[in-house]
């Protein structure tokens, strides 16, 4: 199908869908989840579709009309309360929009249903406050008070809270139908990930890679509110991969491998692709000799029963805290003239990867960040870092690029934050590129010898930090937006950004790419040239991805603003340091 006829089909489906928009939202079914393209006026899945494209067929707002885009209205939310180690909560969620109702959580897990049908104001219809024990949960949150979104299932909203609970909420009234404990803050576990709902299962995983957890992915049967299956990301004794923990002291039991961003899902094979976080402790690799699977990896997992089909480890023995939890877009494309089923990933370690999603074999990989010093490249056959030493239990990679016991601090590029962190890419299937919003720069890693956990004869208690060192940041970071060919990793267009990007990308059929920025600027870029074609500054930093939806045939762009005010950004950007954070929804239209 040509681009033109595709666009025509999308426009047609928009008209049909808009005309057929029901007065009361229909139940969210698996059939609808498989076909979000049939209702482009809505944003019904976390990543826009199961394939993780964050692409909308809406194009009323396009390269010609975007110059007329203006702020339509704002809605103030709560969620700024302090708790644990944090002075305030922040907003990182991707909104869900269904037939004129928007569902968003704040950092402490309150869920808001906002009626956005008027187009001139948003009316909060209900708010569900889960009563999170903020000190208890906030003291074991590594990196802010976060909640990345909710999901729809039948006539319910499925949400999570930082303190480890999952909720099924009546979509019409906000009443909690059931709740269950998935993750346990007593063990340093929290929940921040937007649930992936497949049929009647809600799939989430525990965060806590800096607190000595053993990571897992768990499916909840939404009909019963009970666990359906749990799969550990760090294999146990006798399971494949456990042999890559060579300490001989069962340190895999606190081996990290956390989950904090939503997987992509391939209905064809009933497989989801889950990015896995760093190994624990983060920086003391002498504590955990071996490759430490499946930390810093992607796992292909059967949605039905949680069985691991294959895994691919990006950074064996990761000494850099390169969590690879972020999205793994699913793309079908020709590679060297052959139709291939790809799963791709803009990794925190600075490389773009294309894998065969049927078996995890490496197809292509290329550096996408400006500076990458920890290795010299990727093996073209295996995708392993070129200076990975298969005969050593301790990976040096580039000498001096990470911390080691008793040695001077290491300096690594990209920083331990990436590369690209959780903030998602967007893929335009009509034009072809994957848009990668990135963090550019370098930082320092200092290793401190990690002590053992109390249950392994040491002194570390549950809920205590378990990082084996720390990072230092003295250099100013910047950002970039890169348009990358997802079959090769080739960068086709590149735009330098003043600030490292902590929002994520949205692509639309209007040939636009949208980003939010740390200084409060919302920008639209021409999808082909990456030239900025529109911007508006909301006066407070943005840490959440944008989405688009339509009501009554009119297209809107929405974003939550609630900056975590990260010291790694503000510490070297004095022009931002007196800005205040907020807890707001901003909506734009023509």
């Amino acid at each position: 199908m040509s681009n033109k006829s595709l666009a025509g089909a999308f426009a047609g489906s928009l008209l049909v869908a808009t005309a057929l928009t029901p007065l009361r939202a229909a139940d969210m079914t698996h059939e609808r989840a498989l076909n979000p393209q049939r209702e482009p006026q809505n944003w019904i899945l976390h990543h826009g579709n199961y394939q993780g494209h964050r692409f909308s067929a809406l194009k009323e707002i396009n390269t010609d009309t975007v110059k007329n885009m203006r702020l339509a209205y704002t809605v103030a939310l709560s969620g700024l309360q302090s708790g644990g180690r944090y002075a305030f909560g922040n907003l990182e969620a991707t909104p869900i929009v269904e037939d004129g109702m928007m569902y968003v959580p704040d950092g402490w897990g309150s869920v808001y249903a906002i009626d956005v049908t008027a187009g001139k104001k948003g009316t909060i219809k209900w708010k569900m406050d889960p009563g999170t024990d903020r000190a208890w949960a906030g003291d074991v949150a590594c990196c802010g008070v976060n909640n990345r979104g909710v999901a729809l299932w039948k006539d319910k909203v499925i949400s999570i809270a930082l303190d480890g609970r999952m909720f099924a909420i009546n979509k019409a009234t906000g009443e909690v139908i059931w709740e269950r404990k998935v993750a346990d803050p007593a063990l340093g576990e929290t929940l921040t990930v937007a649930p992936l709902v497949v049929r009647d299962l809600a799939i989430v995983g525990a965060a806590g890679g800096e607190f000595g957890i053993r990571g897992y992915i768990e499916a909840t049967d939404l009909n019963t509110g009970k666990a359906a299956w749990r799969t550990y990301t760090i294999p146990g004794a006798g399971e494949p991969g456990n042999e890559t923990w060579k300490d001989g002291k069962e340190r895999w039991k606190h081996g990290g491998g956390s989950i904090w961003e939503t997987a992509t899902y391939d209905p064809e094979s009933d497989t989801f692709y889950q990015g896995i976080g760093n190994a624990g402790p983060d920086y003391d690799i002498a504590y955990r000799p071996g490759d430490n699977k499946w930390a810093a990896s992607v796992l292909a997992i059967s949605a039905n029963d949680g069985k691991i089909k294959w895994g691919f480890q990006y950074t064996p023995q990761d000494p850099y805290d390169y969590d690879e939890i972020s999205e793994h877009p699913i793309i079908n494309a020709k590679v060297n003239g052959e139709d291939r089923k790809l799963v791709v990933h803009a990794a925190r370690n600075g490389f773009f990867y294309a894998l065969d999603r049927t078996n995890g074999s490496f197809i292509a990989g290329k550096q996408y960040v400006d500076r990458l010093t920890w290795t010299t490249g990727l093996d073209p056959k295996t995708g392993r870092p070129l200076n990975y030493d298969p005969n050593s239990d301790i990976q040096i990679y580039t000498p001096g690029s990470h911390g080691m016991r008793g040695q001077a601090a290491g300096r690594t590029c990209p920083t331990n934050s990436g590369g690209k962190n959780w903030e998602p890419t967007a893929y335009n299937p009509e034009l072809g590129p994957l848009y990668i919003p990135s963090i550019e720069g370098c930082n320092i890693i200092e290793t401190v010898e990690q002590k053992d956990f109390a249950d392994q004869g040491g002194t570390i208690k549950p809920r205590e930090r378990f990082t084996g060192g720390s990072t230092k940041n003295s250099e100013r970071r910047y950002g970039s937006l890169k348009a990358v060919d997802p079959t090769t990793g080739e960068t086709k267009a590149n735009l330098r950004l003043t600030y490292p990007n902590y929002s994520g990308a949205l692509a639309t059929a209007g040939n636009l790419v949208f980003l939010g920025h740390y200084d409060g600027t919302v920008s639209a870029y021409d999808a082909k040239t990456l030239q900025e074609v529109w911007s508006f500054n909301i006066g407070t930093g943005i840490n959440a991805p944008l989405i688009t939806y339509a009501v009554n045939g009119k297209q809107y762009i929405a974003v939550l603003a609630g900056s975590a005010m990260r010291e790694v950004v503000l510490g070297s950007a004095p022009e931002l340091r007196n800005n205040a954070t907020a807890s707001m929804l901003f909506v734009f239209t023509l």
């Binding site: 002075a87 024990d133 000190a135 208890w136 800096e210 549950p462 930090r465 010291e567 340091r577």
Partner: protein, 180 residues
């Protein structure tokens, strides 16, 4: 290169000297803790004000932990303030000026704009320049957080369940693990 090395040596000597000076300070601080007179209402209020600086405004607890026993991870390898050998005057200087070449931030808005901090300007500090705190503190706020630390943490042994309740209150599970 030579100048940088000389500066690093001077800095190092300054900190060694600070550390040595502080051994005596620790002993005297412990002595003071034992012979403390009851606090006046105003002193108690001021210490409570300092707690809020430590907990929320400057969020010192993010790196040093709620009980000031030190921690690692994002933010740096933060030292224990329970075991610190600094005097109140030295700690005041560290809060205002940060610790060069570490993650300990400075909280005086004008630090390193002149030579008020260890005799160095930002230019002279170069790569050793400490980061800025997320919020700057007034002299009164610095005074309060230092008084709070010396009243509750410095020279004290490991934190107790009661210390935890005093910090977090009773409306959270936060102190439960310390009950055992």
């Amino acid at each position: 290169m030579k100048m940088k090395a000389a500066r690093e040596n001077t800095l190092r000597y300054t900190f060694v000297a600070l550390a040595l000076l502080s051994v005596a300070a620790l002993l005297s601080a412990s002595g003071q803790a034992q012979a403390q007179a009851p606090l006046s209402a105003e002193e108690a209020r001021f210490i409570e004000f300092g707690k809020e600086i430590f907990k929320s405004k400057a969020v010192c607890q993010f790196c040093h932990k709620w009980d000031a026993s030190g921690d690692q991870g994002y933010g740096g390898n933060a030292l224990s303030l329970r075991a610190t050998k600094l005097t109140p005057e030295q700690m005041t200087e560290v809060v205002k000026c940060g610790r060069p070449a570490t993650g300990m931030p400075y909280h005086d808005r004008f630090a390193y704009t002149d030579k008020r901090c260890y005799g160095y300007t930002r230019e002279q500090m170069g790569d050793d320049m400490p980061p800025a705190g997320n919020d700057f503190l007034s002299a009164r706020e610095v005074d309060a957080v230092v008084k709070y630390l010396f009243a509750k943490d410095v020279g004290h042994g490991p934190a107790t369940y009661q210390d935890c309740i005093d910090f977090w209150g009773t409306d959270t599970r936060q102190c439960e693990p310390m009950k055992q």
